[in-house]
Symmetry: C2
Subunit: 173 residues, 2 copies
DNA sequence: TATTGTTATACTCTATAACTATA
DNA sequence: TATAGTTATAGAGTATAACAATA
């Protein structure tokens, strides 16, 4: 009925009605981040997904392969190929779980941690451009709020990491 | 180098090193939102993607089909099926562009706007749970910051909408 | 009986190429 | 020549089902 006044400044404006659409905004920002980080993760086995799996392995975010799959939102059958290729590349390793002989502990190797650090360094540079419209405090706020949302959704349990074995601890870097 | 002190409270905590990983956080929040809104968009032709396409059509975010494809990050060949099915469902319509006979204007029908409003209503309820850990001011801040990031990335041009034809204006609801 | 990891198979989704019509 | 839209085909990606080992 009433015509929306579209006389506001058109510079840098999203179409009316989308600036409050959280689903749209998250999709746009997520995709923008993927595009920005694309080259940084291009040499990793499965691109962005391989990077996230490596992140999970290096930070011991999951107890075993199935849990990591849940965290990444992929099928456990897909996780096999994912870990297979990361393992072939020498970035992660499958260790037997002393507590459960069925499951495998996915741990980042030293080379994997190094590659991860390199990737994260490149991603940081890309993120600077992505977050250029935000101040330093706002960037911290954004991360903190996203973290609070992610933590409230128990997509993957935040259990203490049992991967700390006799070898080098990849979580300490 | 310096060992990060890991003595902070483990309640609701993501594994160390992930709480600052913007890529991880965006992926988690985006997926959490998709899962939360899943049932609300389940009856739309292509689920979440169909919902976003309908959002774009209703808000006239893109000039034509190709531009909408760019905004959604899908191939233009995929866009054909997407719009096809939305059109079959009577949610959008392809209109000839008076300025360019090659392109088609994708406009939401009245039924499409109604379905969109219903979906957005259901999604709002789901978002309340998703954002429960944030205060009202924080939720506004989050949307505003995401909006600023999305607007700074010119994934799709924010051009004035030429869809306002002789028929009912779907952008006014 | 349920779960972890694995494999093979079938399915869905996506992209490449080619075509028509317009610019 | 370049672009918008479409179609058909081939490829990549994904899930389903079945299996062995273990809880």
């Amino acid at each position: 009925m009433a015509e929306t006044s579209r006389t506001d400044s058109q510079s840098n404006a999203l179409p009316a009605g989308l600036e409050d659409n959280l689903g749209w905004l998250l999709a746009q920002c997520f995709r923008a981040h993927m595009i920005a980080a694309e080259t940084a993760v291009a040499d990793l086995p499965h691109g962005a997904r391989g990077y996230l799996a490596l992140c999970g392995a290096a930070t011991c975010s999951a107890r075993n392969q199935a849990e990591l799959a849940k965290q990444l939102g992929v099928d456990r059958t897909v996780m096999v190929y994912l870990v297979d290729d990361l393992e072939k590349a020498g970035l992660v390793e499958r260790l037997p779980d002393p507590a459960d002989r069925r499951s495998r502990l996915i741990r980042a190797t030293v080379a994997g941690v190094e590659r991860l650090n390199a990737a994260q360094h490149a991603i940081s540079a890309a993120e600077s451009a992505l977050l250029a419209t935000l101040g330093q405090d706002e960037q911290r706020q954004l991360r903190e709020m996203l973290h609070r949302i992610a933590a409230s959704q128990v997509l993957g349990p935040a259990a203490p990491c049992p991967n700390a074995g006799p070898g080098a601890d990849p979580c300490s870097s």
